[in-house]
Amino acid sequence: MASQFDADVIVIGSGAIGTNAAHLLAQRGKSVIILEAGEWIPRWKIVENFRSSPRKNNLNDPYPNFPWGMSSFDEDYIENTGNFNYVPYQLQLVGGTTWHWAAATWRFLPNDMKMKSLYGVSNDWPMEYSELEPWYDLAERNLGVAGSDTDDQSGRSGPAHPPRSAPYPVPAEGETYYFQRLKARIGAEGYSFIHEPNGRTNKPYDGRPACSGNNNCMPVCPIGAMYSGDVHARHAEKAGAKIITDATAYKLEKGEGGKIIAVHYRSSTGADVRLTAKTFVVAANGIETPKLLLLSDVANSNDLVGRHLMDHSGISLIFTADEPLWPGRGQVQQGAIFKWRDGDFRGQHSAIKHAPHNNVPNRDVAELLLRQGVVGPELDERIRHMSARWVVIESMFETLPHATNRVTLSKTKKDALGIPTLSFNYDLDGDAYVERARDLCMDDYGNFVRAMGGTVINDKTGWQNHAHVMGTVMMGTDPKTSVTNHEGRTWDHDNLFLATTGVLPSSSVLNPTLAGIALGLRTADIIAREV
């Protein structure tokens, strides 16, 4: 029996969740190898890719797309069979997909983790909020999360909620004038405006500068004020972890007694390498993680890997207000509007989070005016007038885990490495739980427009992707209905752990990355005690 290993722990994936977990393991003296399919890419190159791109609204465009590591926006990589065109946004480079998130770092509410017992839908988490709380705290310190210590994030205008063991590591940034005005007028209609906790530090933090309002959190923060996974990739390296890039994991090798004994990866030149370890952590995003499990035929004895795919599918509203608000000053988003955040209604329809967007609106405005044939001095005048009054509200709905909403391997296509590509089946139309919420959301939209003396530009967007991947390898208390236990440990292989938002068994309406990092840190702590 082998007694030599290449590492104590091999972490597959160098995104925010994998590198935070790897960093903790390295700090505890474990030998750690991180495998990353992509490469290190310096921030300035991504920024220049963005600046010279003709498709500024395409979040993946500044990032790599190779035949051996295809972007999720490549039509040769993704196929869809459901009534909604599901497009995940994952990236392949050191630091992962948090390069182009907007760093919204909400905590799930205790009630979000008890959907089945409180409201009779979705799932309960296999842990209490109080068990996760210390790991939320560490995750927030790692990311330098800025937040309000007084907001009731349940939207009920009560005392600060959810409970915290420590204040936010960074105070909330100042409210934009735009947000102040929306809050004053729409808030008067009975809507709660809540500061959005975020990983965009507004004071120097862990080598990162304070946000100065570059207004480009997505697709790339040009100054690195916004947290992305490359921060802890560097920290993990300094703590002793080894990062191997250009290493696409394609097979987990099974040994005796249900153990995983090796991971096989392939480089862009086709070279294959086999590495052994005592323990393996797959932290390769909520889409690529189930892909690797399916490729390897592991952790899937109950045929649940890749199923129960949940996103915060939503819609959005664009209108112009009757006063100048000047969106575009500061960060791209700042807070949320809650009316349908938590309550018994969740047995009947989705919770809703409305998020006012604060992007410099000139492109959207100019595109609209040019489509209308506006030219000359009038074009310049109207660009200014409308840009000052432009309001975008993006709304997200909680979705339920359906076994038929899933990601599988393509049966017909392979990438340049000979690895099957992805196929999705995601249905939204006909899902009464989200359709009821959509109707209520439209009522809210009517209220928002009226409160702001507004003129609707577009309130018929149709369903939109939010790339908040959850459920695909969900955790639970029963091996028959879940892929991992509360530790992230797969039921089928006691040395194989999954650290990804894919383990979330219910979706709430909150951006799931912070929960994924907290869970990944908790998993790493459990592994550190065993290995």
């Binding site: 920024v47 600046r51 010279s52 791109s53 003709p54 498709r55 500024k56 609204n57 395409n58 993946n60 465009d61 797309n65 926006f73 490549d74 039509e75 497009v87 940034e173 100042g174 409210e175 934009t176 004038y177 735009y178 102040q180 507004n202 304070a210 946000c211 100065s212 309002g213 570059n214 207004n215 480009n216 040009p222 100054i223 100048p324 000047w326 575009g328 000053r329 500061g330 992007n359 410099v360 000139n362 492109r363 405005v365 100019a366 595109e367 040019l370 044939g373 030219v375 000359g376 001095p377 009038e378 074009l379 310049d380 005048e381 660009i383 200014r384 007038h385 840009s387 000052a388 992707n465």
Partner: protein, 170 residues
């Protein structure tokens, strides 16, 4: 002329057109060249000065997406001269008189304002969009005292709390 030589030539043509007297089309050409395209762009955007490098990139992008573009743009320039369109407030009249040419005019104006040609896809990597300019896109000019070209911050942390000085007149 190729794109590499355009900076020097652009400066010459810019100087000539800044006089504002030159007709857009000085010679009886079939296809538009970079100098004439710059002059046409100035007329269509109402700017006395435009960047010649961006102009060359716009011309390259527009003609790459449309084989007939060089000829269409030349006919457009000639029609503008004949019509005497010097004030874009009269563009609607021109467009009514030349429905076959006004789409090309809108494409040129769009390239200058938006900084790209074609139709960019939001969730796919394959489209016909081509880059023209970012910081030089004219759509940012009308608001540049108040908001930034994204990525190019000019303020400091929390500057956004206070409304812009122009608020009362906006």
């Amino acid at each position: 002329m190729n794109r590499r030589t355009v900076i020097g030539l652009g400066a010459v043509s810019l100087a000539a057109t800044m006089l504002g007297l030159c007709p857009v089309t000085a010679f009886a050409q079939q296809e538009i060249d970079e100098a004439a395209f710059l002059a046409l762009s100035q007329r269509l955007t109402g700017r006395n000065e435009l960047n010649a490098t961006i102009s060359a990139r716009a011309l390259a992008a527009l003609s790459a997406g449309d084989e007939a573009f060089l000829k269409t743009a030349m006919r457009l320039a000639q029609a503008i001269d004949q019509f005497g369109l010097t004030d874009m407030r009269r563009f609607r009249d021109f467009a009514a008189a030349h429905p076959d040419l006004s789409p090309a005019a809108m494409k040129i104006i769009s390239a200058w304002y938006l900084g790209y040609t074609g139709t960019p896809e939001g969730e796919a990597n394959h489209d016909d969009a081509r880059f023209v300019s970012f910081a030089g896109a004219l759509m940012y000019e009308p608001t540049i005292d108040v908001t930034i070209v994204p990525t190019y911050a000019r303020g400091k942390t929390d500057y956004w709390v206070t409304p812009p000085a122009s608020l009362a007149s906006d």
